[in-house]
Symmetry: D3
Subunit: 296 residues, 6 copies
């Protein structure tokens, strides 16, 4: 093992709930990361890369210290840890959805608390004690903040007066008969880099390539390819009335009054577009999946 | 919640064995339906749609009553419930196969029963008591029909003389040493609509669009895209001898005596086609997957 | 059942760890093999084919005996069983990776054994007793070889002096504090055929078609399609500096100074290629997945 | 198989949620019932007994018809099916608890329905349509009753106005924001017998023995054995002040001023009794588990 | 690790299907064997004992070689391996039942084979090739015997003419439409010891103690304790008419015309005994479970 | 719900790895705690008790605050949280074993760190930052302590120089090629009480009863009952040579030269005792399980 070359870039990968989604994302980006069940050391099919699986909460800390050249973690944990790192790009993916999450101040539906000011002298449980501490200070409120080891939302009102917890849709909060009072921080996954690695041109080039490929893979999740044939004389009409058909490739079809049109577009517009295209005499409409859409 | 807009169309979705396949079908059609594990209320990423998961047996009843504007259910349950609904289109998908299922009259291999006439005075267990009752009446046979709560096929010959049960291939029936005497009803999944909703032009338009997208997604499951290059002079020969290559897109290749040919076709013909194409000097043959094939 | 036509070709399919991967491979090749959970007789949607699931270790034996016309099994078991069969083609696929495996002679890290010669009078456990027996004989070494029913690698040094075991990367061997002394045999999955079936031109044609389709599906796992637009004047420069872009399809874009370029290439080169293409002013780069890449 | 003796008594056993608990109950009673995973025919280690697993809803029907001599089923299904059977004894056991369940009329919390009278013209979903039909008739109420295939409690208020559902504690009903209006029927598991089998003295003797052993096993679940030593002179005081110590066995201890006291009593009294016994100078208190407590 | 004392006795424990049952048996005997999920080295709470989990097929081989002082394995594998070991005692336990298993010669129901003599020139698959080889030789039959890696019973009639397989009840064989022609060997689990260890008095003493405790635990699985009170004048009558009440402990009850009777007996007689005892005016009958019944 | 009586005592129960063991312990003590899968509010079959499931790390905090009257938690978390609570009694139980655990300072095998003094200027990861902070201060060492969110032992040596982690046997630490330098704290589960609740005589009485019953149940896990018959004349000899037979109950057997001896003793001595008893002519030796052994 002593003869192994040092990898160019050391990656911090999030262990736990994002783990599977992260492996799939890298695979789509073109990097095969294999993880044996017992180990936190994955093997990566790129000799320039090595990595470790660490809890998302801790990645920014070890990127800052320089053990990782870059890593995937939430913006929230960069703030909570006060880590001095470069935020390279957003990587909005998660198990259930693709929206931003937020840390919110939550109280029971029936609580008298209407704003942060009403927390004076109260007790608040949270996983992000630094963020909450700063928030209270900025609002000149004195309250006791205690670290919560999990299952935070069952703690109000029995154990504490309020909590600061993470939510995507707020559904679970409402189902628990709780109420959101304020938003402290919006967050999503980011690729973050160590400051010194970012200044090293070779490492920075590699990190930028990884960022480009990950973003290409993420974008492909939400986009599809569409092919169709339309009568030549209808091309202009369709193009002007359907702005979703941005930058199509139009090819003549041999011996035909039709042309072939191919376009890459957001998946969510397709369900509206197809009935409209049919109304414009489009034929042979097919949709195909994509692996990568490289940002121009 | 009181301020939420009423959705344009309310969908009845089958709970249980078809649930996963239904979610995948809608996803492919372009609708993301998210279902929390405990709830029968999914969330759908189209503000014009809402839905509920209900047992397939009950959907036609609630479509008829107007609680759902449309729903996915088997033709058999429309008949069993005697529901007055519009059958919009077939949606042939299921867990294991894409063939039609049928409700059959089944007796033990050694039973003397050879036709429905021999059931006079016998006892029959089934999940579809109305269908069986009507069938006996049409054949002027008096027999006792009892509702079976499940595991119907183990009931003959110990508990009843005959059963009416659902089968796709008949394999399980033969494995249980049983014999099919008659077929009462062929069935497959349908999209059905409430009569009043179908008369409302806005709702009908939406339901027709859903039908179009679901059918496009189903068709794509069985079709693929094929690309290949052939010598220009062989195009006509290939096209006439290979009728599977219907409606290809033929494009010239720059500086080449080859042309590029692209075609969408049924997956099951590909395995026969590829060896033949190679025998015709086709090169660079690739097959790619499809998300949707919109019916012309 | 007595009226069922005899299938043209009888297939031996590997049961156990390769089973799922084999079903997926055939599905991608265009053959839907359905396996009920209790049965070793699958159903195949091609009336010319029938098959059985048998342990990989035994397939070559039943291909040689003629019960199977062809089958998928490892080269190692052909050798171990001494089966006289035709090796039609390599099919390199497995659960975890796509590399060759090898049977290696393994001893504890601290063992004095440095070569096969040091095994004189020792005891060796292995699943391939014939291969090991021949290996010892070729090296004029007398040692006791005993059949191991599994978990072979925990047997050294407590129960035996050395083992001959299968490994892909050697990681598990090193983790058990063992050392590789020699390689006896490299192996991978093959399609093998019965000698008589291979001489029958109709059967051979069918077996060759199966081989072609399986190889096309395997190749598609490692390749992708890439599309992009480049300024007309840059085409030659890119083509000469990027040898990976072998045999592209280049099409003119209507009313544009760009041309569309499409190419099929190995997935692993894409991650290097994309940054380079962007540096050459390529635009609209997308990658799409493939089902089959037919070898020319 | 033709030479197998006919068993004396044929047992109907409930399939599904009560299945595991039933097997454990019979095992404790002394009958080992082995069930292969695919079969509804168990094997029983008593040559006089045979049995079948059938849905609990259907057992009373097949006991009445005489296919089973006796069976375990709920009182509710005897009533729903209108089966003419002998109710031999109560067997109060279930997965979660040992209390009676009840079928209750349930409406949304905010519903105007306050009594059965308010159901006039409404729609009610239930699994027990006969029980509900009779209940409405007795109350001179006209309402539509529809069969529910399950998940009944999510149907109010969207799909129907009211439901009749089974509950033990009412917790799930309250959690769904529903309200209980009335109780239609209390129910628990019973051993029921066919009228003719009950008149046959040999069969009746066997059924009574099964009943005795099942009741002994059930009683043992709630009782324990307690042993302790007390000073001779305290015996009378303890016995009079602790009525739970009914019918103890008191034995002299050799060469001691203590006597040994042993008693069988309900487990739930032990947690109160032990501190009291210690206060009365009892020593060496131990509690041991029981397999059977035969009713006197 | 080099300073660890060598254990007095090294145990071979069967890995696989008997593993869980073996751990429970030792626990009941008083030895806590803890097995980490990845390791084949358990830890045992007796400093004089160490052990390894090895496939049951291989244990006798390593007991003979002296690596284990004793081990649990089937009599069949002692014979198959031709191991020269001491069979200390029977230990009849298994997952499903407590009966002996047997290796049987099995052919398809419709096969012409009626006795071993009819196997001349046939092919037979089995896991015990040595036992089958010897059996054929004793019967002067020439046939090909091939090693089966498992799922032996699906191999007839397609792949081989006959099999020799293990069965307990023969149910699975009949369900596969096969027929038993002959029994080659009866077998059950045994404790076997190395000949040299058995001659060492200290080791032998330890092995005998283990055997005694394991047998005590096994016996307790099939026996229970019964307590009851009977009128003094009925004691003799009951004792003479109920031979199952062997060796009871009879104690006077203070101030009572009853005596207390306690007896240890086979569980399977209890279900017959209890009704009879009640008929003899027995009262307060309880049954309690046992951990060990030491053979006298 | 507003009319529900307030329970006398509110219990803090540990969520997570100890949860199942805790439910079993209370069940054996006589309290049936039922936990629905989604809720942290169990129901307890004692109207004087209510409880909540909370992470073990947080229980002492909420006992100190008075939300719980008492709770089960580790001594370590009482210390880490600096909670001012009453430690009522030890309750040594856990998933795998019954031994004490300890928080230890751990470094890589090859690390130069030999004592706490060598940590000057190093970085240490731990879940118990307060305990480690105090430990460093007491030893006048300056080092950076960082909170570890889990999987602490994979962090050395890559991410930090040392860790402080919990261990029972040290096996996992050695398997990871790490070395224990020092022990900071021994710990086991305790019942802790709120100071004010402890001063309230009614609450204290209830808490003491709970403690007594839990300890009785725990003690019964490690003890068994033994019964045997010995010749009258051997009683004194056995009693003096076998000190394990403390405080037996000796009863005369009617018409016999044997006496019955019954004793409660530690399970681990039984495996030594039984062979010895047999050597002393004991007969009819049986062992039975216990539910509770109340401490005298």
């Amino acid at each position: 093992m002593s003869t192994e070359a040092k990898p160019l870039v050391m990656l911090g990968l999030p262990k736990g709930s994002l783990e599977e989604a992260t492996l799939r994302l890298f695979a789509k980006a073109g990097f095969k990361i294999t993880k044996s069940s017992r180990s936190y050391r994955p093997s990566i099919d790129d000799p320039e890369l090595d990595g470790r699986f660490v809890r998302a909460q801790e990645i920014s800390r070890y990127v800052e210290h320089g053990y990782f050249d870059c890593g995937l973690t939430g913006h929230d944990w960069v703030v909570e840890n006060g880590s001095d790192v470069v935020e390279v790009c957003d990587l909005i993916y998660s198990r259930a959805s693709a929206v931003k999450s937020r840390w919110v101040l939550v109280v029971p539906e029936a609580s008298p608390v209407q704003s942060v000011k009403d927390l004076e002298g109260k007790r608040i449980a949270t996983e992000v004690t630094n963020i909450v501490g700063r928030y209270l200070k900025e609002n000149n409120v004195n309250a006791e903040v205690e670290f919560s080891w999990g299952a935070t939302e069952v703690k109000v009102p029995d154990l504490v007066d309020a909590i600061v917890d993470l939510t995507e849709t707020g559904n679970s909060i409402r189902a628990n008969k709780l109420r959101i009072v304020d938003t402290l921080l919006e967050t999503n996954t980011k690729l973050v880099a160590n400051r010194k690695s970012w200044e090293d041109p070779v490492k920075r080039k590699k990190i930028e390539n990884i960022a480009l490929l990950l973003r290409s893979a993420l974008q492909a999740d939400k986009m599809v390819g569409l092919k169709l044939n339309i009568p030549k004389e209808k091309v202009d009409g369709i193009m002007s009335s359907l702005p979703a058909l941005r930058n199509p490739t139009i090819s003549p079809l041999s011996c035909s009054k039709y042309v072939a049109l191919e376009v890459i577009l957001d998946e969510y517009v397709v369900r509206e577009l197809i009935p409209t295209l049919k109304a414009h005499d489009a034929e042979g409409i097919i949709e195909y999946p994509l692996n990568k859409v490289v940002p121009d």
